[in-house]
Point group: C2
Chain length 143, copies 2
DNA sequence: TAAACAATTGAATAATTGTTCAAGTATCCT
DNA sequence: AGGATACTTGAACAATTATTCAATTGTTTA
């Protein structure tokens, strides 16, 4: 599928604008790249790993496991994903493997995400009630 | 099922560092906030919506549907998610609903993600093995 | 040599999530 | 009023994904 010819047989309202947008639209490969990065940081476990690595320059798998309260295996699996995306790098010292952030780019990106989260939290004008437990995968929605 | 009570009975190597990290560790609520944002941008459909809205100041659901080549329903569902996270806002004009980015924050964050993706794409490994980490069973991701 | 340790890996399971489908608002236009 | 348009919503299904478990690699120590 995905025939670039007739992607849009839907009748849209502002056809001129849509056509204009379509011209300098983002390349599929680049979309993949961005989403991969954001998806990687969009998991609680991986976000906590990255955050921990912004605080300590390097940590071994065992430490991360203890810090996050998760199994070595689970942490290792997520570290592999971060590794494949070049978000973290590692250094082997005997049988211990030390992980660290691959790039300051990552740090900046995560910091900015944190800022936005803080900002969004403060300007949460819909419900000021604190103490409401927020659970993973549950995006509280309003009507 | 992870028991939240005794999270860490694992013996870790650098206990002092882990304990130190644990003190000023990120609050659970904030982790939730960051991951929500990153997760939102970590989906191809939503990423393309956000990107489109960085190019055109506002677009209606119909236009987005045509542009992305997806059903109105699918787009609307994703817009709701972005709306709940305050990443986009909307304006109703008759029966048409115009969506736009809620904040310049979002634009910056997405731009930075794009930059990183571009950078990662360029430095895609071309076998320059000096001290380059070895990938055991490297899984190549390509659509 | 064997045992202990740190970490990786693959397969299976459990949980989450994106899209479709059908039905439902709300608004505009004869 | 009735019908058409623009969009929303809930439920169900399909696809993806995170974690667990068991087995394995590689390194150090007894």
């Amino acid at each position: 599928m995905a025939g670039p010819d007739d992607v849009c047989q839907v009748v849209c309202i502002h056809e001129d604008q849509v056509l204009k947008l379509r011209q300098h639209f983002i390349e599929a490969k680049l979309v993949q790249g961005v989403t991969d990065i954001f998806k990687a940081l969009g998991d609680p476990t991986r976000a906590r790993i990255v955050y921990a690595l912004t605080q300590a320059e390097e940590l071994c798998v065992c430490d991360l496991s203890a810090l996050l309260g998760m199994s070595i295996s689970a942490v290792s699996h997520q570290l592999r994903l971060l590794r494949n995306l070049r978000l973290v790098k590692y250094r082997k010292a005997g049988k211990v493997v030390y992980y660290s952030l691959d790039d300051d780019h990552v740090v900046d990106l995560f910091r900015q995400g944190l800022e936005h989260a803080r900002h969004a939290q403060e300007t949460s004008y819909k419900s000021e009630n604190s103490g409401v437990p927020v659970r993973p995968g549950d995006n509280n929605r309003e009507d």
